[in-house]
Amino acid sequence: MALLERYRVLDFTDDRGLLAGRMLADLGADVVQVEPLDGSSARTAEPLGPRGSYFWDTYAANKRGIAIDLENPAGLHDLIAQADVVIESAGPGVMDSLGLGFEKLHTLFPRLVYVSISAFGSTGPKSRYAASDLVVWAAGGPLDPHREKDRPPVRISIPQAFLHAAADAADGALFALLARTRTGRGQHVDVSAQASLGTATLGRVLAHTAGDVSPEWEKLVDGPVKKMDQSGSGSGTDPAKKKWRCADGLIEFHLTVGRASGAFTSAFFRWMASENPDYERFASIDWREVPDMVARGEFDDARFDEARGAVAEFLAGKTKNAVLEAAREHRLLCVPIYDTGDVAASPQLDARGFYSTVVDDAGREVRMPGAFAKVSGETLHVRSPAPSIGQHTEEVLADWVGTRVMENAS
């Protein structure tokens, strides 16, 4: 039996929260997407194709759908009475104005867990701010450090802010359900996309309160030794120093130094030297010791540049696949930068059964990521395509309420 099989979720979200219900549905909950009679705004969310929104196709998958006149939602209470969780992302005050706000529903249904996803949170001086993915990304911290010196900060080309918030909302709903098993009470779970994003900065948002006055990543790499980037990921290093052109694309490789992960760089140069003895001069360096060597004046920028030049020359002749195979064989911290096509064709994802293909109501096959986790004894995958408008209204009423008719529904 699926983990959340006994739980019912009524999902009022638009594109800002659609993912939360999908996650709960993947884990086995009966998630019913509630749409207005003319359909959810998420049906027109980017990216679009000839038949509509792939955003809707993917993040409304595994849900059933009902359509209802939300301006006049009589009869909806019968469904809410059967729900364990309501999720909404309409923005502060909107659900209240429809008579579907937390306070009212909590009074009527004290066991109901009520989850709100918004840009800045339900209350507070910025709660009514106009918002977009980019603006929330700016307010939450991950945008600012993410720039090249001569250009403004840049976001990820695929909008992310509300996805982080929606995933947090799914977690918050589950915390509240766990609390309910002890208290018997439901409660309000208030998720702010802005607050969700601090964690996507590697703690950088805390530099000010920590009193770290110059943590800027662009200053780290060649600065004084105490500032040397000893992370394994190169988070403190200019991104341009971690990207390399290869024969058919790009490679991600950070010349990491120091005790925690310098050995990966040593291994990389051993691989180079195994193919060309000229590179032995880099392979003979213990890259774990480089921070100490810099401190003693035995290693300088010129040697870094020389090593980088050799890496560039070596990788230019390699394919993405050859690098991936070498990384596997020699345990290197170095991988190809996959584009969308590479991710779709990844032998690893294929071997893991990551993708699901479902046929929608128009007979069209849709292939998409099917599982975000592997759980023993369970198969997470896409069981059903995203619903058409009002597709399951009768079926859900019959299942949840024992009636096939609801006023104002279609």
């Binding site: 600012d144 993410h146 766990l178 439901g186 702010s192 948002v205 009193g211």
Partner: protein
């Protein structure tokens, strides 16, 4: 008010960011979380900025402090059998084990799920890794930047005319824990009814790819590869980040044609209002439009523009650096930054819980431990070892 996970016991053997964030959320929810690490191979997060007082040091990382607040600190050198025996006892005590070692390592130590389940059948275990526990590339080493590369995120960030810039830091480290936590909490709910445990295998690459689901579906249907497009957007224009007079930046998104007319009026550019009347034109000529907006923003302070544009309902916000984030009135209203006592630093600040629950709030109640801070408590009070047994472990070098 009792917290949602009061009484739940967790052995946290994860490290750096992705795994520890899961343990952090459980600690916030009231679970007793024992974080095991070793001073002989210093956990990477301890080496990473920002540092308290700007001074690098194993006990100074605010990143480590943020992802480990609320946990008990136990130091064990797991290379030694005696230390592994302690870990095994903690796994028998625990309801939940978290780990993020390279796939196969826990098995070598006799700490894999099958082994632990034999004596603790209700155990829930979460393994977090870059590629997952099986498959041809499961053995690949990596941090979140590797996860970001193999999940497609690296290629989708940056300017169309330049090399990809990559998402900031190990991006999938921020994504995967939200999904691992969801699966874990669902398993805890299931266990409340059935008593049955679960093994959860989280791959950072898969979680990252999951957040690109619509684009992977589009690729499968149409062969369309996601291209880097700076800050431009297919649905909104202008949509950009612009330099301001005070050296800061402001992010602005114009939602529709009406808002564009309003912005053009505010910028005193009536001709532009009509030249760029429709979204189609604005998207097609977005770089031209960005230049116009940037000329205007360069004459104003970033905060003034946020205030001005929000007053008329246009989405705008200062590109928040750490100071702006820490002083943000909205985050303060939510109590998002929490000050805690720290044995070495006096007071430290961590981020609060991201899940604001009205009835049973989650909160960080204790700063992250210094290495080995709670060894005696864990060994004596939790595992019931005698002073003599603890001394033996110490003399064997197991507790470093």
């Amino acid at each position: 008010m009792s917290k949602p996970l009061a009484g739940v016991k967790v052995l946290d053997m994860s490290w750096v960011v992705a795994g520890p964030l899961v343990g952090r959320a459980l600690a916030d929810a009231g679970a007793t979380v024992v974080r095991v690490e070793s001073g002989t191979k210093v956990e990477t997060a301890r080496l990473m900025p920002p540092f308290e007082g700007g001074v690098a040091g194993h006990e100074n990382s605010a990143l480590y402090g943020n992802v480990n607040a609320g946990k008990l600190g136990m130091s064990l050198d797991l290379r030694l059998p005696a230390a592994r025996a302690v870990a095994r006892s903690l796994a028998d005590w625990a309801d939940v084990v978290l780990e993020s070692y390279a796939p196969g390592r826990m098995k070598k130590w006799g700490l894999d799920y099958e082994t632990l389940r034999a004596t603790n059948p209700g155990l829930i275990m979460v393994s977090s890794s870059i590629n997952g526990q099986d498959g041809p590339y499961s053995g690949l080493a990596g941090y979140g930047n590797v996860g970001a590369a193999l999940s497609g995120f690296q290629s989708t960030v940056g300017w169309a005319d330049r090399l990809p810039l990559g998402p900031f830091g190990p991006y999938t480290d921020y994504v995967a824990p939200r999904f691992g936590l969801a699966a874990l909490l669902a398993a805890l709910l299931k266990r409340e009814e059935s008593g049955v445990g679960a093994y959860i295998d989280i791959s950072q690459v898969e979680c990252g790819a999951y957040l690109q689901s619509p684009y992977l579906a589009k690729y499968s249907a149409e062969g369309a590869v996601v291209e880097r497009r700076g800050n431009s957007d297919a649905a909104f224009s202008p949509n950009g980040v612009y330099p301001c007079a005070d050296g800061r930046f402001v992010a602005i998104t114009v939602g529709d044609d009406d808002q564009w007319r309003m912005l053009a009026t505010i910028m005193n550019l009536p001709d532009a209002a009509s030249d760029f009347r429709t979204l189609d034109v604005r998207v097609r000529r977005s770089s031209e439009l960005d230049d116009l907006v940037a000329v205007w923003t360069a004459r104003h302070r970033a905060q003034d523009l946020e205030d001005l544009l929000q007053r008329v309902g246009i989405a705008a916000h200062v590109s928040a650096d750490s100071r702006a984030f820490c002083e943000d009135p909205q985050l303060r209203h939510r109590g998002h930054l929490v000050e805690l006592d720290h044995p070495l630093h006096g007071r430290v600040t961590v981020e609060g819980s991201r899940y604001q629950l009205s009835d049973t709030p989650l909160s960080a109640d204790r700063a992250a431990p210094v290495c080995g801070q709670d060894n005696t408590y864990v060994l004596h009070d939790i595992l019931g070892l005698t002073a003599e047994q603890i001394e033996t472990l110490e003399s064997e070098g197991a507790l470093v």
